[in-house]
């Protein structure tokens, strides 16, 4: 097919460095932690009946699964703490302010994303350089669930530990009806991550498929491909965040 040379493609992309290395590192370590914690968590909740013919003295697999769960929890916590820190020192796309829809523009963008990408009764082109406002909001909710999982998990773990750190969370126990009640909520919150991951992975494919912006590979290399921004910022999306020359320090 030959198109007239005068017709410019809408996919005249510029390459923008969005996700810094620490953010990408956080993302994948976090993803790994969640996979490991979910898998071991389900085993702990309802251990499979394997190895039923051996003597207890020769085996320790359930103890090992629990150890992996607890050790990974520590990695998860410190990785999460690091991400919060990075929300204050990282570039504009990883900044903590994006996660809270406190500005009207962010709220408006949430509505636009719902209209264009989720319900799809508009085909308007939306360009967000970092996440879109709805995604940021979802991640904020996810962070709250992270906090809950950390607090509830360590509160449950406190009984088996002499370290001071898990003891910091024992106040969770009476609030959620003791050990078994809290354990139940800890288990329910795990399902949030499963549902979240389903939708999250789907939407990454969706955006890459529809917009061709390389969002799928951006969490590997850090670069996204976005439409050239005109002088009036029209194609920069509702958030208007895309600048011709994104500068990590420019906020």
């Amino acid at each position: 097919m030959h198109s007239p040379a005068t017709l410019a493609s809408p996919h005249e992309f510029q390459r923008i460095y969005v996700w810094e290395l620490p953010v990408r590192f956080y993302h994948w370590l976090n993803a790994l932690c969640i996979v490991v914690l979910t898998a071991t968590g389900f085993v702990i909740a309802n251990p499979p009946g394997i190895n039923a013919a051996s003597e207890a003295a020769f085996s320790y697999w359930f103890g090992t699964v629990r150890f992996i769960h607890f050790a990974t929890a520590y990695v998860f916590v410190f990785n999460f703490a690091f991400r919060i820190y990075w929300g204050f020192v990282g570039n504009q796309y990883s900044n903590w302010k994006n996660f809270l829809p406190l500005k009207f523009a962010q709220f408006k963008e949430v509505m636009s994303v719902l209209r264009v990408d989720i319900l799809q009764y508009s085909n308007k082109s939306l360009v967000s350089v970092g996440h879109n406002a709805l995604a940021y909001l979802t991640y904020f909710v996810m962070f709250l669930v992270f906090l809950f999982q950390v607090a509830s998990g360590f509160a449950l773990y406190a009984k088996m530990s002499h370290s001071f750190f898990p003891q910091l969370f024992t106040w969770m126990l009476p609030i959620f009806g003791g050990d078994l009640g809290l354990r139940q909520w800890h288990h329910i919150a795990t399902w949030f991550f499963i549902i979240f991951t389903l939708i999250h992975v789907y939407l990454v494919f969706y955006h890459d498929y529809v917009e061709g912006n390389g969002v799928l590979s951006s969490m590997a290399g850090g670069w996204k491909f976005l439409p050239e921004v005109t002088a009036d910022g029209k194609t920069a999306g509702v958030s208007g965040k895309a600048t011709a020359k994104p500068d990590p320090k420019n906020r």
């Binding site: 097919m1 030959h2 198109s3 007239p4 040379a5 017709l7 410019a8 493609s9 809408p10 996919h11 005249e12 510029q14 390459r15 923008i16 460095y17 309802n46 251990p47 009946g49 394997i50 190895n51 039923a52 051996s54 207890a56 003295a57 020769f58 085996s59 320790y60 697999w61 359930f62 103890g63 699964v65 799809q120 085909n123 082109s125 009984k159 009806g177 003791g178 078994l180 354990r183 139940q184 288990h187 329910i188 795990t190 399902w191 499963i194 549902i195 389903l198 939708i199 789907y202 969706y206 498929y209 529809v210 917009e211 290399g221 850090g222 670069w223 491909f225 011709a244 020359k245 994104p246």
Partner: protein
């Protein structure tokens, strides 16, 4: 040893020590020391603890004890009476001087009430108040009345002059079954009704007899309440989980679980975790002191722990399942059923959305005017930041 009927007149008891009374009853010095050693071991004291306990029982005067029964089943008294060591029963019932208890009192009616009045006025600030049972606070306490007075009323009067309060069992410590949802009588544990008194929560349904004796001997020996945990339980008996002292623990770590009662694994004595055993979340001495003179305890008998020394254990879901039912979804729905359902709905939603996307975004997807594959490579993109890629 037979439980010898009280022969010493109450007036005499006031002047004698526990040891004097025991020897006058024919207990040998050897048996007395065995008891002291056994008690100090139960309390987790070192070898020097034996001397402290023995010396206290030899020199200290009796503690007057008032033992009240409210909303309860008397299983705490029953447990105590069935203590394996004869001196345990004697020490309280004969020697420490149980001045009032509905269960074992010879007197009745006005005489019994007079006896109670007598004790709490004569030994004001000295006597020990032991309570079995919770306090119903609904309907002005009409659900539990003794001699025409409500339990809360009696408790407040009796506790006013008490040196310390011991709450026996789950009823007195956290309300037990009568405080389980929906708690029709609005039953309250002692510590929620009483304020300003040191309260020792001796948890369990019932507590282990040796633990009950140990708490009393501790109070007698050291003249102060033992160190308590966050739920008011003496740490010397409630600082370790049943799970951590369970002889079946190696099976837990090895992943050897009973899958159903009376299966091969149950016969082999594997871990009862999957049968809903509450050992991992229950603090008690069942794994070490055990019951009926150290004969056994529930897990040893093949039944999981039901967590009777923990608050609200009746409300913590079915005793034979790890996961409680999910609130609001009927009895057979666990978090996993709900999660799988939500997951299935999510996947269906994703599939529908993917189809919708291919229809609604048909023009945005794929080749656009001016970018046919045969047109050759597009002009090189401008790298605004000049940063290196990954």
């Amino acid at each position: 040893m037979e439980n010898i009927a009280e022969k010493v007149a109450p007036a005499d008891r006031d002047q004698t020590t526990v040891y004097e009374q025991l020897t006058s009853r024919g207990v040998s010095r050897r048996d007395f020391l065995k008891f002291c050693g056994w008690m100090s071991a139960c309390m987790g004291l070192g070898p020097e603890g034996l001397a402290q306990v023995a010396s206290a029982l030899e020199t200290k005067k009796r503690i007057p004890v008032v033992w009240m029964h409210f909303q309860e089943c008397t299983c705490c008294s029953e447990s105590f009476l069935r203590s394996s060591h004869p001196i345990v029963a004697d020490i309280l019932l004969d020697k420490i001087s149980l001045d009032y208890t509905e269960v074992l009192l010879a007197a009745s009616g006005h005489q019994a009430e007079a006896c109670l009045k007598d004790t709490i006025t004569k030994y004001k600030g000295e006597y020990l108040l032991c309570c079995e049972g919770s306090i119903p606070t609904g309907e002005d306490g009409a659900y539990c009345c003794i001699g025409g007075r409500s339990a809360a009323d009696i408790l407040n009067e009796v506790a006013a002059g008490a040196k310390a309060v011991i709450a026996w069992g789950n009823c007195a410590c956290s309300g037990c079954v009568q405080a389980a949802k929906p708690n029709p009588t609005n039953a309250m544990p002692i510590h929620k009704v009483l304020a300003g008194k040191p309260i020792v929560n001796v948890q369990g349904c019932p507590p282990i007899a040796e633990v009950m004796a140990g708490v009393l001997v501790h109070l007698l020996t050291f003249d102060r309440i033992p160190q308590l945990d966050s739920l008011g339980r003496p740490k010397e008996f409630y600082s370790r989980r049943v799970h951590d002292t369970c002889y079946r623990r190696p099976n837990y770590d090895a992943g050897l679980f009973v899958e159903s009662f009376d299966d091969e694994n149950a016969r082999k004595g594997y871990c009862l975790y999957k049968m809903g055993c509450r050992g991992p979340s229950t603090y008690n001495s069942c794994g070490t002191i055990r019951w009926n003179g150290g004969v056994s305890f529930p897990i040893q008998s093949g039944h999981g722990c039901i967590g009777c020394s923990e608050s609200n254990f009746w409300d913590n879901g079915p005793f034979y399942e790890r996961l409680a039912q999910f609130p609001g979804f009927g009895i057979e729905k666990t978090a996993d059923n709900i999660g799988l359902g939500v997951g299935a709905v999510t996947v269906a939603g994703i599939a529908a959305h993917a189809v919708l996307t291919n229809i609604r975004k048909h023009h945005e997807i794929g080749e656009q005017p001016g970018e046919a594959a045969s047109d050759g490579p597009p002009p090189p993109a401008v790298d605004p930041t000049k940063k290196g890629g990954a």
